[in-house]
Amino acid sequence: MLRALEMATTDALREAVIRLPPDVKRVIERAASAETNPVAKGELANIARNIAAAEELGVPLCQDTGVPVVYLTLPPSIPLTENLYDAVAEGVRRATANIPLRPNVVDPLTRHNTNDNTGAGMPVIHVKPGDRFTVTVLPKGAGAENVSRIAMLLPSENDGIERFVVETVLCAGGKSCPPVVLGVGIGGTFDGAAALAKEALLQPIDHMDPLEQKLCDAVNCLGIGPMGMGGDTTALAVKVKTAACHTASLPVAVNVQCWACRRATREVVW
């Protein structure tokens, strides 16, 4: 079973860094055909050609293959043990050597690179109960992660949520490799809001509810466009997750994701 988890982790990483999910490809295609700015059209055409080239050549879409963020669902029959964490880490090491992935993981202070994309607390592993035993990977590149932000707003500042989201994208400019996908976590606690924001990125992006659409439209008014060179498409989608919070708090976190919204899920079978 541990071996199957290890293999499923490697497989999911291979899938994620080479092929974008169908919903992401659909949204990029939609944006490309709706875009009116000629420079932006060119950038989106390059992105579409890059997606096709990666699939055809079987190579990663982007040289920043990210850090491994992993979500496990465990059915009642699978006990949560330390071994599961080790198996996921082994799957990451194997993926790093075989695909290959760029070794991105370093010690935060010495900056020593482990060369296998694992380290203390890395891969990041989140576990939840579920019906099936699955592993989902979200390889997260640094360009977009580095411009993500969190705010503890006043509960009376309800309008502040949208403003904070728009301001985050303004500050990011072209650095986040737009068009971006925004995962927004609202509520919970300081740390919880950030976790929600990242989890929001696991949802399909080809559908937005009215709040998500409103946030997305507000961001796109900035006109930053693909790669910060102008255009209608600054954000491809916004996905929101909420949690209950203290009556005196309003945490809001924005996790920025570049256009390469990579994620893949594998069922662990043995």
């Binding site: 190579v59 910060g228 390469a260």
Partner: protein, 193 residues
């Protein structure tokens, strides 16, 4: 140099290295398809070249801000890195005749002034590492001791699709977009969305 309108009102110009005065006629926002030799260089390579000299003929050369992934002499991935890190490191290259800097995200005011009347900044789409690799053939390497990401790789391009980000007249598409976005945000804050 050949220019043609491929629709949408955007002119696509084909360029071949070594480059010359033709770069002076490009405009920010133009599409370019670049062929010929380019040299990759990131922070470390710039510092080394500044100290020890440029190991290739800089006259008419194009520098690509990129740390590629190379396996068995094959380019697997070669997307652009953030050019802003080279803002204060590019003057000596332009002084010695380099005609184009290629990267992502644009460059600062210092680089913009150094490009004026002699060279251009060409933007390649961030994250498009596989597309880039499919237009490239590896021809050689300098400073391999700097490691894979920081070495100077000699790469032959076959029509790599680029956009003029900063032209030789000082027009900077990134700066224009940034200023526009700032104004939009100010208006948003005062009026609501």
């Amino acid at each position: 140099m050949q220019a043609c309108d491929k629709g949408g009102g955007v002119v696509t110009t084909t360029l071949q290295t070594p480059l010359n005065d033709e770069v002076l006629h490009l405009h920010a926002g133009d599409r370019v398809e670049l062929s010929g030799i380019v040299y990759t260089a990131r922070d470390e390579a710039h510092l080394r070249m500044k100290k020890e000299g440029i190991p290739f003929d800089p006259k008419g050369a194009a520098i690509y801000h990129c740390g590629p992934v190379i396996q068995n002499s094959r380019i697997l991935a070669a997307g652009p890195t953030t050019s802003a890190r080279m803002n204060n490191l590019s003057g000596f290259l332009l002084d010695q005749g380099v005609r184009a800097l290629i990267g992502k995200g644009g460059m600062g005011q210092e680089a913009r002034e150094q490009l004026r009347d002699r060279a251009v900044y060409l933007a390649f789409t961030g994250g498009c590492a596989a597309l880039a690799a499919s237009h490239m053939t590896l021809r050689g390497v300098f400073f391999e001791d700097l490691g894979m990401a920081e070495a100077v790789w000699v790469i032959e391009l076959d029509s790599l699709p680029l956009t003029v980000g900063i032209d030789a007249q000082g027009n900077d598409i990134f700066e224009t977009v940034r200023a526009h976005a700032d104004r939009k945000f100010q208006r948003y804050c005062t009026q609501g969305s």
